[in-house]
Subunit: 401 residues, 2 copies
Amino acid sequence: MISKSMSPRVENSSAIRAMFEEGLRMARIVGPENVYDFSLGNPNVPAPPEVNQAIIDVVKTENPIKLHGYMVNSGFDETRQAVADDLNDRYGTKYGISNIVMSTGAAMCMNIIFRCILDIDDEVIVSAPYFVDYANYVSNWHGKLEVLPANPEGGFMPRMEELEKRINKKTKAVIINNPNNPTGVIYPESVIKEIAAILEKKQKELGTVIYLIADEPYRELVYDGTQVPHIPNYYDNALVCYSYSKSLSLAGERIGYVVVPDASDQSEQFKMALGIANRISGAINAPSLIQLALARCLRAKVDIEAYKRNGQDLYKALTDAGFDCLKPQGAFYLWMKSPDADEKAFVEALKEEHILVTPGSAFAGPGYVRFSYCVAHETIERATPGFKRIGEKYFQHGMAL
Amino acid sequence: MISKSMSPRVENSSAIRAMFEEGLRMARIVGPENVYDFSLGNPNVPAPPEVNQAIIDVVKTENPIKLHGYMVNSGFDETRQAVADDLNDRYGTKYGISNIVMSTGAAMCMNIIFRCILDIDDEVIVSAPYFVDYANYVSNWHGKLEVLPANPEGGFMPRMEELEKRINKKTKAVIINNPNNPTGVIYPESVIKEIAAILEKKQKELGTVIYLIADEPYRELVYDGTQVPHIPNYYDNALVCYSYSKSLSLAGERIGYVVVPDASDQSEQFKMALGIANRISGAINAPSLIQLALARCLRAKVDIEAYKRNGQDLYKALTDAGFDCLKPQGAFYLWMKSPDADEKAFVEALKEEHILVTPGSAFAGPGYVRFSYCVAHETIERATPGFKRIGEKYFQHGMAL
């Protein structure tokens, strides 16, 4: 007997996954080479060679008990030190082992944070469009996700006046996802400073602690020299969630970390609380072998040039066909205005060309669609005539609203 | 600001971990060889060689994108098929891929089950003494753990009349942990049948579904030919949680599975719900590399003779010293009556001999202590004079109550 809280989730299983299944079905009919699947965020660039070398090295040289055994729930010292060193070199911070809590990817990092900060009916704010599972992470712990309306005129930056208005005594955190899934935009330093100023002001006014949580799995995937600001340099109660899913193409391995700066509220207890949350949530710890390998190779990088080229060429193909797209700055997503106000109808029209994308409503962003461009470059080339035909249909034959 | 629900957990952080820290501190003072740490359940027998060979093989031969990439949230087909085949060969079952949901260890398996079956204030029953984190797994999802009083006269089997009395409309599950942590006993077939009969009867009477959840991370660690009964062969609404933490000494790798039998309630939707729970809880999936390696080596076995010998010799050393112990049948725990009704005072007395054990109250079993004997055999030998001295102190000098 499935619980009341779980039943609707089973009925409306994630739009992203449903699309995935549909792609497989279509591929069986027309052949996989004729299905242009832009729906899933599964990295398609292999992990850098340093990763597999590090795995083989630790398997061959590490103490066999340590290699596969428990460690403290927050992770191996050498892994946390390597992460801290890397951050310190890049952001001028002074993190040590204790500031880094390893967990099973950014999704679990967010869950253990919410486990530590949320009581029933506490609120967390995010700006639309947003990664759909944030709502689940918050509701797992019986909190409420408050969604700021999208800001297309302002480049999909958060609406600052709205943010300030929504914060109340129950507000425990604000999430930013930088670079953003699904829009591909990067919040620049000026935006981070504005958010920080609002949170500082509201903390003082309300006498509460409001965390700024940066979910940064795409931090390394930036394309035009833009820097992703390191939020603890702008705000004390900042928590950074990171994952090696994209930067090292290790999405299946489940490894990431939370940064807890010393300047944050009750930081000693909070670090301890995250370790406990790792244990009691069932994650226990990030996988041991991958942790040990990571300590040796975490500065390696996947070939982001492939993503960059995909982003540029997809943007060109779609704008050439007449569509209105946001130019991708980071991550591997392109956010495009649907020529039909009902973007789900447009998603269906794309399917006739065997082009699969995710409707914006799946991210609380109706009227838009998301292209995920972690695909073979050929997929973009082969889909281009389809983009053209659809563009003609909408823009030259008057179907666009 | 740590939530109200988390704060007490930070204050009273797990007794087991606290003991671990104390052991390290003591080791720094008297030297690690003079501290006899029986407090932690971290396997000390290395993973069988097949595991590391399988890891190296998959790293060298598997498609690099698949090796570290996402798969469906329930796991790779080949891994689930290998698990199903193994179970079918041993238990005469007919499981296929769909009956097996991989997750990040048994702790997460239990969490995703509770995510799927519990609404606020639903109840789960367990018999004392029990693994302390069950209470956390249930309260994560706002359920309530109902604890049956321990049954020392009945060999720590569940009190059947009490079980029947406690079941009501809100009862969603009964947990059994077989072999048991902390007692080391195995529930035989007759006990499973009795439990199943009670649950069948109450399901009919109440018109509800009551899952019997078997947490079986120690299933392979059995010492005197005893068989651990496979509960889906005795009861339809059975769910089995398994982990390779102990049987392959992979505790740090976080890999295990849930068995969902076809005969269980809403089994198709339930399998889907577990996959969704994997995703939204933040686990996403069991680590990919280890899943692929496991598909090639899951029938390998650690050297359980070492544990068996430890169990026998520890039992002998403690009973020779006058203590009243349960003979270990499975897992790597020995459950011993404290000669002082206040077992925490006894734990302190043992510390004077640099012997570290876990007080029974940490498992809702006051008046007892738990020895974890996944230690070097030498630890038992070197601790034996200390057992003797403590025994003399309590039994010959009249300190026992």
